[in-house]
Symmetry: C2
Subunit: 384 residues, 2 copies
């Protein structure tokens, strides 16, 4: 319903966002890291290229919070994907050579089991009975899919943002199964300011009376709250330098100012918020953003000082893969000191690591935009 | 009602926040910069020290968005003020030597005319019929008070954040009446990222169904929306380095994580949000934050390039006062490049300017905390 007001009644049509995926069904109970058991698990995924007879050319892509498995167009869904210029024949992640898999996050709303899925025990959506999720849980589900596909070893694991956390996690959790990893605009842990940024977004969703403790399925969706949350998220994904250039102080209309949308940058944020409401389940937003906050793979974030006995399990130092870490100077959500720290921690653990720092004005979203620079770094990793 | 849940019914008791002020009443219609006329005007103010017989020792303090006129304790209100360690006998702003005035913002809810005031024409609160306000309007109201007090010339004009904008504005609007100005953690204009940060806060208030287009007086106040807005505001006032040290990744309780308050930094934000709801009128928040967005005293912010014919009126270059500009490296709301730019613009206009840059971890709120460093710079200005 582009251009129209946000529907407060009907449920978003997530299937319009992602389609043409395959679904791996695991009938076994799936135990989550913080307790809580999912009686069964669905994992939605897409792939490009061919698995070699030796099964040694698979690359696993991990998504960020809101992206789907649709990294690239394919026969069953010909819409352009979010990494259309990175993944494909002859591109940095060359589908003529590699078998590329991208999964939809568990906890999400794009075909994998999440809060909007039906709990087979109750017959109702899980809603907020869904267990607290972690990045480790997300990766454990991916490993089940790899087992199912008979892929013992990944040629590479690649992701940005939350996907970069997953990339570190899978290489730590299953070191023998990951030969190369790329972690872009991610970190060894979420620092308190980025936790705070996501907390306020969750609060915006939960402050909407339509959220109703998460039990809004079949009723009014908390679109107002999710819109504010996404507006705020957008603020953390992009950056000031880009907006100075793109919007400056230009107002949308040269009339008397108003309390609502007025400056062009405001219309941009409102558009991003509106669009997202039709594409994403509010409870998924809560669960997945929380998983990012809980991520800590090196015990670096606790200012009280974590001892090696208490270090998180699995720990970064378990990694055997050759690593590529990419940081972006204008990122305010995962500031560049975090990628520098991550590269240093890997080096200290005697892991072969290449660190690339990009001077782009696009902030946290750079990996979606500066495809030449990101692609060049990825080519380097895959050639290693 | 500290510690209890936010009351969704009753109105906040603003008089508990500020009391013991004087009120200047102007019976004349007050015309606002963007049109709109207030039939009459109240301006609440406090003072410390004595006006000299020559009436040449007055210092005008300007507040930020949420502070009241209560910069320091005084007979009628003995609670500590927000600059208790800066303003007082023998302190940087020495009340043994200077007559110090601090006003409550028009548009606010601390005794000066604002959206919660009764419109004498209708007998109802102005609510969102209140006209769009600007920093120039705020300063015009202060000039009426100075006229009333018979103060032709200010020894100095001092403010931080929005107060720093007012300090620049009064020195531009009435150059002959301001001898010295200090502008702390402010800017020549609001840049698009800080506009965006405030826009999303306003959206949070306006997304609350209780906001009801601003007509909530005598009904349920939009406390949920204002709480989210203030949580987000707090994020922009403080900074990552401080939070790394203060909170790290410590969780409030060592139990299973939850979607709501969990990490200590989250409890801190929630506390700030809750407290504010009992102290501030949501419509005042909208109007005053909008005035900050509209501020542009040098035509610097428009990337499309403003010609000198279109330059804002009044312009920075009208200033005659000796200027002190203070910037803080960790400020994300008014980043330090803006104070550097401001100092440069003043210098280019041949205004005597001292620029001081503080390397504090407290971000935008530094002026409330690093009182020794801020005080020393202010002493320098006042001795000049």
């Amino acid at each position: 319903m582009p251009g129209s007001a946000i529907p407060l009644g009907p449920e978003p049509q997530y299937e319009k966002v992602v389609s043409g995926y395959q679904t791996f069904h695991s009938p076994e109970p799936f135990e989550c890291e913080w307790g809580g058991i999912l009686p069964e698990l669905n994992l939605a995924w897409e792939s490009w290229g061919e698995l070699s007879p030796e099964r040694d050319n698979a690359i696993l892509l991990h998504t960020g919070l809101s992206a789907s498995s649709h990294a690239r167009s394919q026969k069953q869904n010909q819409n352009p994907g979010w990494w259309e210029e990175i993944v494909g024949p002859g591109l940095a992640i060359d589908t003529n050579r590699y078998y590329v898999i991208c999964t939809n996050l568990i906890g999400g709303c794009y075909g994998s089991t999440g809060p909007s899925s039906t709990d087979p025990i109750t017959g109702n959506p899980y809603a907020t009975d869904f267990p607290i999720l972690t990045v480790r849980d997300m990766v454990s589900a991916q490993l089940l899919l790899l087992d199912h596909l008979g892929i013992d070893t990944l040629y590479a694991s690649v992701g940005a943002s939350l996907g970069g956390m997953q990339s570190l996690m899978i290489a730590s959790l299953a070191p023998a199964r990951v030969q190369r990893l790329a972690s872009i605009s991610a970190a060894a842990c979420s620092h308190p300011q980025s936790i705070a940024m996501r907390f306020v977004q969750r609060q915006a969703v939960m402050a909407d009376p339509d959220w109703n403790e998460g039990r809004y399925y079949g009723r009014s969706f908390p679109h107002r709250g999710l819109r504010v949350a996404r507006e705020m998220g957008t603020l953390t994904y992009r950056s000031g330098p880009e907006w100075m250039e793109r919007f400056g102080r230009k107002r949308a209309k040269n009339e008397v100012p108003r309390l609502d949308e007025d400056f062009q940058v405001e219309s941009y944020l409102a558009y991003q918020g509106d669009k997202f409401c039709l594409q994403y389940d509010p409870n998924s937003y809560l669960y997945i953003s929380k998983a990012m906050d809980l991520f800590d793979i090196a015990g670096q974030g606790d200012a009280s000082g974590i001892s090696s006995e208490e270090a998180p399990e699995p720990h970064l130092r378990a990694i055997k893969a050759t690593a590529l870490i990419i940081g972006v100077k204008s990122d305010i959500l995962f500031p560049v000191w975090q990628q520098r720290e991550l590269a240093r921690l890997l080096e200290e653990s005697e892991i072969a690591v290449t660190y690339v720092e990009l001077d782009s004005p696009y902030g946290h979203d750079t990996f979606l935009i500066e495809v030449d620079q990101v692609g060049a770094a990825l080519r380097g990793l895959l050639a290693s």
